[in-house]
């Protein structure tokens, strides 16, 4: 055997109740959780990234048709939703801050408002989807996009097949985003429950921090989705 020094470090002193056994100390556990969430967000960036790649390529190839399709979705609702998500990101940072300074009421209130804003977002999205469904803009058997002029070229009609690609990507991208919002709501419901039970202290509120990171990421995705999908060619 080599003359390696294997010295014991004893951890029988005060154990933070939330410290898991394979970590040496709470800071290590916090750092691991934070890094883990950031790496998970990296995977999400690449996940959405594939969709953005497809979208950007087709937008360049079929700019006119995409412009016509984009004009038919409601930019005011889109802008409103953007504002809603921005407000919810604010309430999330307030929740983290409240946890840091042990203001339980503010923490719980911020979490609740965040969830409410998330539900408002989904509600508006639902209205948008309903509108598209009624206009036969949902890709599939009942899709139709005939005789819609290309913005800036009133004498040319958009190619319905290309418009259908726009709508396919619109629904897939916003749908995937909405799915992430729903998961986020579930996450925050659980955080709310834990906060209600008093599990969070200034020393331990890691779940709120990493839950917040997830929520902000979902916000950033929407920050890009909004101009790309809704504002291709809006000038009259």
């Amino acid at each position: 055997m080599s003359d390696s020094t294997v010295v014991g470090l004893h951890h029988e002193e005060q154990h933070h109740p939330e410290l898991l056994h394979h970590f040496a100390e709470p800071q290590q556990q916090r750092d691991a959780a934070s890094l883990g969430m950031w790496i998970f967000l990296a995977t999400e960036v690449m996940f959405f990234g594939g969709l953005f790649c497809a979208y950007l390529i087709y937008r360049r190839l079929y700019f006119g048709d995409f412009g016509a399709a984009s004009k038919s979705i409601d930019a005011t609702l889109g802008a409103t939703n953007t504002a809603v998500l921005i407000c919810s990101s604010l309430t999330v940072v307030l929740a983290v801050w409240a946890a840091q300074i042990a203001l339980r009421k503010l923490l719980i209130g911020s979490l609740i408002v965040t969830m409410l804003l998330g539900m408002v977002f989904l509600g508006i999205k639902g209205k948008e989807y309903k509108d598209k469904f009624e206009e036969h803009h949902v890709p599939g058997a009942s899709f139709s996009f005939d005789h819609v002029p290309i913005p800036g070229h009133p004498d040319q009609y958009a190619n319905p097949r290309h418009a259908e690609i726009f709508f396919a990507l619109y629904f897939i991208m916003t749908g995937l985003h909405a799915l992430h919002m729903i998961i986020g709501l579930g996450l925050f419901a659980w955080l709310l429950y834990m906060a209600w039970k008093g599990r969070f202290t200034p020393e331990y509120h890691t779940p709120i921090e990493i839950g917040g990171l997830y929520w902000h990421f979902v916000d950033i995705v929407w920050i890009y989705l909004f101009p790309l999908l809704y504002l291709i060619d809006r000038h009259p």
């Binding site: 890094l35 950031w38 790496i39 990234g49 005011t76 802008a79 407000c87 902000h216 504002l231 809006r234």
Partner: protein
């Protein structure tokens, strides 16, 4: 301080929305995406606390991810963009 970032984000959204209705030709997209990027940076730096992070590791994770996303977008576009060159 969070409130000023929040206000900036809302302002950015409003500007993006209004500018879209002006005719700037090819620059419409550029303006919209630039504002979007500024907003994303504000959220990442201040709301997600990258600005105050003591370790360079988090910034490395973000930068490398964006780098590889960039590769995906740019090299694919390079194919589509040069297909019609004779």
């Amino acid at each position: 301080m969070y409130f000023s970032v929040w206000a900036a984000l809302l302002l950015g959204t409003f500007i993006t929305y209004k500018v879209a209705y002006l005719d700037l030709g090819r620059f419409n997209a550029a303006v919209a995406l630039t504002i979007a990027t500024i907003k994303a940076l504000l959220v990442a730096l201040f709301f997600m606390h990258i600005k105050g992070a003591h370790e360079k590791l988090l910034k490395l994770v973000v930068v490398s991810t964006l780098f590889f996303l960039f590769i995906l977008l740019v090299l694919s576009m390079a194919d589509y963009g040069t297909r019609t060159w004779s």
